[in-house]
Symmetry: C2
Subunit: 443 residues, 2 copies
Amino acid sequence: VIAATTALAQFIVSARPQDVPAAMRHEARRALLNWLGCAIGGAHTPAVDLALDAMREFSGPPSATVINRGVRLDVPNTALVNGIGSSTLDFDDTHLRTVIHPTVPVASAALALAEQRSASGAELMHAFILGVEAECKVGNAISPEHYDAGWHVTSTCGVIGAAAACSRLLGLDARQTAFAIGMAASQASGLSDILGSMTRMVNMGHAARNGFLAAWYAARGFTSSDRALEAPRGFANAFTTHADWSRLVDHLGAPWELAANAYKPYPCGIVVHPVLDGCLQLRAAHGLRAETIDRVELLVNPLVIRIMGNPAPADGLRSKVSAEHCTAVALMTGAAGVEAFTDAMVHDPAVAALRARVVLQACTGVSADAATVVVVLQDGTRHETHVAHARGSTELPLSDRDLEDKFRALLRWGRSGADADALIATIWRLDELADVGVLARAG
Amino acid sequence: VIAATTALAQFIVSARPQDVPAAMRHEARRALLNWLGCAIGGAHTPAVDLALDAMREFSGPPSATVINRGVRLDVPNTALVNGIGSSTLDFDDTHLRTVIHPTVPVASAALALAEQRSASGAELMHAFILGVEAECKVGNAISPEHYDAGWHVTSTCGVIGAAAACSRLLGLDARQTAFAIGMAASQASGLSDILGSMTRMVNMGHAARNGFLAAWYAARGFTSSDRALEAPRGFANAFTTHADWSRLVDHLGAPWELAANAYKPYPCGIVVHPVLDGCLQLRAAHGLRAETIDRVELLVNPLVIRIMGNPAPADGLRSKVSAEHCTAVALMTGAAGVEAFTDAMVHDPAVAALRARVVLQACTGVSADAATVVVVLQDGTRHETHVAHARGSTELPLSDRDLEDKFRALLRWGRSGADADALIATIWRLDELADVGVLARAG
């Protein structure tokens, strides 16, 4: 049996900032810029309101900040609420190989702890990089069987990533870090069945909070197992039918998993993104107006129908996993940002009418980041386009400028009073930041 | 697919106290007496010291009591620490069919919430009975495959039981209760690999805290799934290779699972209990003295060797899963109570010497609650006894008097200043208690 737990712990303890290539350090800044925008933009949503309402009376003395809410809580509760807030818009990043949303659990935990400790930008960044590496390498080792069994992989692997990042920030030694991983593995949880409800965000928050607590427990002297990942009655055996720990131990930092991170241009299910690219292209190219459209035909990968075939979503939350809604609102408004997925937009009669005229056709020959969109007008005119790679895919990553624009839009959506340009500049120079508290208190 | 989640929720909401037979209500009192003794007795252990040290700064305003510690915390942290404290001696009860330790997660959560709400003894007892019923019926539906896959079943099912009890105490409706079950199922966690470390107790505490939080979240308006147990990407599919929800929906309260609850006479692994009965019988019958013993031969069920074959335990914690240590200390001291499993006892040279002369022999023909013990003296004399059913087994349950004696011994071990007789009397009349706070503040 491969000693994955101790190998991972040793890596977390010994990896030096100078071992991380400049490109990866830049990718970490991009991930944190994207995440902070999501957290600021999602701060005034029902999920965050409910979380604050539920947890405020269960927080110890405040030492960290709920982003863009002007509320301070203790570290574990801040990690929890920021995990909920930064995932609620479903606009955070994606590690495409595992479908893990890597930054939410790791950054929510790490920033709360880093703020409490007045850590520097360089310390936060390094802990974050290591946390994402732990999270995604564990995910690689157990994918795809783990996800296929019904696990909410961001939650189950995220708790380990959060524990790794917090272990590093707390300066734990290799034995303590192994115990932290063990205590995180023994808290790993989250079912896919609840993804259509608020429990999705709560799972993300729990991963952040529980990962911090795992490291905290280990720091205070709790014992665990130092082979929790690979033991016969450990993580892999319980959570998947097939694990290959060589994918972890042979590849720590080689390559770094942040290199495979993707950012969403649209805050909805990723499989429909090529469709949205096509809709927006056709609308712009031909000046399409919704009232002249007879129907929309989509030739898509079968995943789109399985995951997002839903012509009549009940509310804004569920409209994010409705390919029909995404299509209709993009053609109607010429955009598919956060404002496309409100309850009001879902119940708009014109949007509902267009939604009903979207026809999905599955084709196994269409890859997951491609689609063909055909808009048929009432006068019989057909406009067609084929999208070979969606924006935000590995082949067509969002540029730094794209991410800056997204950040600014999210600050507007979150009614933030922060200076977007100043924050962007701070994150691009994160290594030089003396105290990361300024990020936590942004918004 | 059987609608297990809504059936369970409906049962929790609608079951009336008068639907519970008097014998079951008495069994609930026995379970709570046993649990409170364990909590008081375990309050001054390293695990509780560490938990208080780790969590005190993360507690909101105090509204509940850490048993026998004179410390007050908020409800979730009290549930957590009392879950750790009442499980740390490994002296709590066992639902033999599933190997769930039913009372720790449910009572730790329910009493913390009941104290905060100044609930009556009758309210606490009914919520507790329903919580144990939910926990063990879910366990029945997924056993034994679930445990065999490496899950710490008390933790994974305990969180659901704790959520059920707290849902009832909070007066949730059926929809909210289904959501609470869903949020508990999506927090269910705990690996068997860590059972030899302090993470065992932490898992129990997390089950209590997270079960409370699941009910609390649902009460505050968080949404979840109302089919989280049985959905294709839900609890059963993720946590077991075989589930039979008819074992739940067809048998809620018929029979009550508390009827199958067992109490330990010895605070160590249950499979060695018949051996301890035999050792104590032989010692008393023949006035055995350790220094005259040449060797001890044990004919046992193969489980004993698989789970507890360990001739050289490293410390007190691990001596609880060492059949050799249990045997040696029982023959040496004539008892196998909490004092038998201290670090000092493990490192006593005389105990170590006798441990080394214990020979285990597996026999598939010996049932799990039976054993044959042979003590061979240095002069060649052989003393032999066969135990057909261990004390505390289904066939030979501990009497109320046994439980009272155990309770008194635990209060002494926990250096409690409480009046044991008065507390015992309070619990036997729990239905009449106006405010359960007196139980929480005992110790």
